[in-house]
């Protein structure tokens, strides 16, 4: 029971297109650096998309109407994934996006002028709600009908892919764009700082000295199609979504359980759904945020599932920063790229294994081994754990 992927699109700190992202991954070039676009404390390390709102608007042909950066990033990636596809009455097409902050960037603009009492523009608030973020993307692409947004914090993007796959298999849709988008905001940066898990240095996932995450921004979308849609579109299949699962950790509001219960369940159930054996997994794109808690809990979960034979794994958040709701979608695109090009991406900044588990991520680009199947993990606040399995066959 798998679903075909026929298109991918991405915008992140390491590139504005799929090709640019792939190049950065191959060159081990991180996109994390001192903040440039957002008005924040000088020197703050973030994974910003290197393009202003105005340039994005111009490039996407958006007029003067208010639109959030979250929508702009989402639209850029969704357009790339959509490519030259055409609408057809015979193909029921939907879109599922995901976001954690929605139009919070514009709401912050509004609120600043509101607090200052300088004639705030209330229309900006129309872009606040998360659903609007997706509607704007849908409207630009001419999609109507099934338009939905998921918001489960840092696992949102993975959940959008999962729901899209389920809708295709149930026969409710023939074709669906699935992904996620989140812009950097003062809200989230200060939020993670208030939790004291924002690293002032470059994040170090799975390293003993890790002390937090760097936030990033971006968006990614995948186009999923069933056979009848492909009969009409003629699109080439570039990969498959073979397995998926979501499970609740039910341990704590923000922290992951020390025994990795929710993560273990998500990984186990996604693998079971895919029908793959443990040994079939060539690479794991880990959640790996760089916080003390996540990376330890995730390591324990990997040990629970794979025992002593944990496949090559890495966190690519050392490239992009943690892009919250977009992370699951961005890392799904990286998973597809890994399969397409037989690549295993490095976990930048790794030096010393975590004392409790001793797991060692892949520290440099691997090009020798065929990559047939990839497991991608995304775990979020509220104990929301999701795992996806991608491969080159159904």
């Amino acid at each position: 029971m798998s679903v075909r992927v026929t298109g991918i699109g991405i915008i992140s700190a390491i590139g504005l297109t799929v090709a640019e992202n792939l190049r950065s991954l191959k060159e081990s070039r991180s996109g994390i650096g001192p903040v440039q676009y957002l008005e924040e404390e000088e020197g703050l390390l973030v994974g910003e998309v290197k393009m202003s709102d105005q340039t994005l608007k111009n490039e996407l042909g958006i007029g003067s109407k208010a639109i959030s950066r979250t929508s702009l990033l989402g639209l850029k990636a969704a357009k790339e994934a959509w490519g030259e596809n055409q609408h057809s009455k015979k193909i029921r097409t939907g879109i599922i996006s995901s976001t954690s902050v929605g139009g919070m960037d514009r709401t912050e603009d509004f609120y600043k002028t509101y607090l200052a009492g300088t004639n705030p523009d209330y229309k900006l608030l129309k872009t606040h709600d998360s659903g609007n973020t997706t509607e704007r993307i849908a409207a630009e692409l001419g999609i109507s009908g099934y338009i939905n947004t998921l918001s489960t914090a840092c696992s949102s993007g993975a959940n959008a892919i999962m729901l899209g796959a389920r809708l295709l298999l149930s026969g409710k849709l023939d074709r669906v764009l699935v992904g996620g988008s989140d812009a950097l905001t003062k809200f989230t940066i200060n939020g993670f700082r208030s939790l004291m898990i924002y690293d002032d240095q470059w994040c170090r996932p799975f390293d003993e000295t890790r002390s937090g995450l760097n936030l990033g921004e971006g968006a990614a979308f995948l186009l999923l199609e069933n056979d009848s849609s492909i009969d009409i579109s003629g699109n080439k299949t570039i990969g498959y979504v073979n397995g998926w699962a979501n499970a609740a950790d039910a341990y704590h509001q923000t922290a992951s359980s020390p025994d990795g219960k929710g993560a273990t369940l998500a990984i186990t159930n996604a693998l079971e759904k895919s029908g793959f054996a443990l040994s079939d997994i060539s690479y794991i794109n880990a959640h790996g945020t760089g916080t003390k808690n996540n990376d330890l809990s995730e390591s324990v979960a990997l040990r629970n599932v794979f025992g002593e034979n944990i496949p090559s794994f890495s966190s690519t958040k050392s490239f992009t920063g943690h892009t919250l709701a977009a992370a699951g979608a961005i890392e799904a695109v990286f998973s597809i790229l890994a399969i397409q090009h037989d690549l295993i991406f490095p976990n930048l900044n790794y030096k010393i294994p975590i004392a409790e588990t001793g797991l060692e991520p892949v520290a440099s680009l691997q090009t020798e081994k065929p990559v047939k199947a990839v497991l991608s993990n995304s775990f979020g606040f509220g104990g929301n754990n999701s795992s996806l399995v991608f491969s080159n066959h159904d």
Partner: protein, 320 residues
């Protein structure tokens, strides 16, 4: 067919743990307030002290549903919310823009849309599928469709609900944007247990639901939806609609060509007030009516709260 084995609503009406409320509730007065139970009976004190209105409503309704259905655990928890945790979002945003230095983290943690579903799983120790849909006025219908898919995939009981909370600032916004709302902005939460198997608790059945974004032909979509369920407008015993500003003669203008009989139509916003997921209130209202009045066999909830969105939910009596 999916059975509604439990239903629980906290709203501005005496809906909570009050079977048969639909037969005697009155339209809301402008001064109405949220009617809340003693939350301590439902929520652990350690969790309760941090919880905002939307979280308290959601967890209490969820626990009430699980009790009604007589199950240990639902197989999944699915929540729809249009605007999420507004109180905590407003509080944290205000802090970010006004306080220098370290900020209290609680309102940030509880600002994410999935806090309701997360807190429910935490409160009952549930490790199943946990999802949050947020598509403005059709968040509930999208969540309901997800629940139906899960039941088709083999799950037995799904806890599905919706919640939204009002903050004072929403009134300022609606005034500044000249929304001219005909009902007050309110808060509410409605949760249900949707089951694959018929059981003694069942209030009504969900036959089908559909959420349509950027809709252009509302009447056409309604006819198609009914036709897909082998039904015509004339077969409906009751239609629940949001009476909104696009009214004409008591019915939304966009529905005029459906020739709905006016005495079969109920404006649910008169009872719930306005919030993005008020159609979940409508589903409980309809199910409660159907439980009390066996002549109601086919009921349509036609959610046209926002003109660009259409949510359709078809309920049938358990016996039908």
């Amino acid at each position: 067919m999916y059975y509604i084995s439990a239903a629980s609503t906290i709203s501005h009406q005496p809906t909570f743990q009050n079977v048969g409320f639909s037969t005697h509730i009155e339209p809301l007065q402008e001064t109405s307030v949220l009617l809340t139970p003693d939350y301590k009976g439902f929520i652990d004190a350690g969790l309760l002290r941090r919880m905002s209105k939307i979280l308290r409503m959601s967890v209490a309704c969820a626990k009430d549903c699980i009790g009604q259905a007589g199950i240990d655990q639902p197989d999944a928890i699915i929540v729809g919310t249009g605007l999420g945790c507004l109180l905590d979002t407003e509080k944290f945003l205000n802090n970010v823009l006004t306080i220098e230095g370290l900020l209290p983290p609680t309102s940030f943690i509880q600002s994410t849309h999935n806090t309701m579903a997360g807190q429910i799983s935490l409160s009952i120790g549930n490790h199943g599928y946990n999802m949050t849909h947020t598509q403005n006025s059709i968040s509930f219908e999208n969540a309901l469709l997800d629940a139906m898919l899960l039941l088709e995939e083999g799950e037995r009981n799904v806890l599905i609900g919706a919640a939204d909370e009002a903050i004072d600032f929403l009134n300022v916004i609606s005034e500044k944007l000249h929304l001219q709302l005909q009902h007050s902005l309110t808060s509410g939460a409605s949760f249900f247990i949707l089951s694959k198997q018929k059981n003694d608790h069942a209030l009504a059945c969900v036959k089908d639901t559909q959420a349509i974004g950027l809709v252009n032909d509302v009447t056409g979509q309604i006819k198609d939806f009914l036709a897909g369920n082998e039904m015509k407008v004339q077969d409906l015993d009751l239609v629940l609609l949001p009476g909104t500003s696009h009214h004409s003669d008591g019915l939304p203008a966009s529905l005029a060509s459906l020739n709905l009989e006016e005495n079969k139509c109920v404006d649910y916003l008169r009872f719930s007030g306005i919030y993005p997921t008020a159609s979940a209130f409508a589903m409980h209202l309809a199910a409660d009516k159907m439980k009390a009045d066996k002549s109601l066999k086919n009921v349509l909830i036609c959610n046209t709260l926002i003109q660009s969105n259409l949510g359709l939910t078809l309920l049938q009596s358990v016996e039908a």
